[in-house]
Point group: C2
Chain length 207, copies 2
Amino acid sequence: MAKQKPDNLKEALVDEAFSVIEEKGVEQLSFREISRRLGVSHQAPYKHFASRDHILAAVIGRCFDAFASHLNNRPKADSSVDDLRNMGLAYMGFAEQHPLMYRLMFNTALPPVHDHPEMLAKSQHAFALLRDRLATMELRDPATDVPDPARHDAVFIWAALHGLASLMQSDAIATLGLSDRERDIARQRMFQRLSLAMHDQDVDRVE
Amino acid sequence: MAKQKPDNLKEALVDEAFSVIEEKGVEQLSFREISRRLGVSHQAPYKHFASRDHILAAVIGRCFDAFASHLNNRPKADSSVDDLRNMGLAYMGFAEQHPLMYRLMFNTALPPVHDHPEMLAKSQHAFALLRDRLATMELRDPATDVPDPARHDAVFIWAALHGLASLMQSDAIATLGLSDRERDIARQRMFQRLSLAMHDQDVDRVE
DNA sequence: CCATTCTAGTTGACACTGTCAACTTCATTT
DNA sequence: AAATGAAGTTGACAGTGTCAACTAGAATGG
């Protein structure tokens, strides 16, 4: 089991941490298990990470990097609306292709962000991609006094995407007994309804 | 610290488990801590719960009970649409008033549902409330062949509500720097956009 | 060139955890 | 009265995070 001691232990620790989480789940992540697998002593990780939470934060930070880069690699469309749609699809695509990373970022009890500023920065960066995409879109009647409406629409869209993605992964979906085909239908329907909601410029005047 | 040994230890264990989670977080929940607080031996819980996961499942089951009853106690409205809206508001209200319970139900890595059928049943019951509410609503053009559309709209609405609720609680919201007032605005905006999306009966024909 | 300091790693210990096993108490049933 | 079974006990074991003290070796400074 014990591999060659790697040159860059810090990187190797994070790699191995992810593997452990993949195989045995995040609760089973332990310094000692990682150490054993890398053939180093149980205290070696402490030279690079102050605590178990710190290496978890590093793993999650990597997930945010991968997520942001996935969003940026979406196919570029000409119109703003289409581009936003592509971003939404890219979001859902990441959640489907990398459910573990997705859960780690959004469904796990994160280590307290205050103690892990690097992780926080990466998470803010990922969200900024969506917010900035919306900021260029003039989504509302500028007469109302709602500050920074793009941010609120970003919240709405993010919430919807996140809700769907996390619902699709959760055990709750088994509750519903949706087939694969029905899952696709549900996702399409969601995008259609979101389109409807976002195309209407008059949201501030409803009710 | 050690209280009087209670008559109904099983109930008391679940109560105390919830307290521990409240105080120290779900990862810090331990049989031994619960036992100490109740003044019983560290093995006493095993007479009532097969494992740590089983008591966690019991705690979460209670949350689903409280959640379902909160949804059922919503103000009843005359029209279907208004009643659905009330249910949505009740949903968000529960998430805001009982963030811990909400997280336990939807944001925690649940103990594998297969091993905890009682918890699963309670969770299905809660979702059925929303699905049944939608089932009476004739939300679509019946000409298309999409099976059980109410279920798909239930997914959409549930996803949006869950996404917003969990976003509001997550550290991500700190990222955005929304004030309390802005949070309210974001929630209102979400309901408005959802109304827009759901009022349009032609969703199946879009694009 | 030698002494010092710093870094990355080591071993050992401690308190904590879940869980298995064996024991005791005591009420219920036969 | 004997047997049974449930509820609770103590004891043990392996696993965990983390503190402390130690070591080998590289870098640094005079």
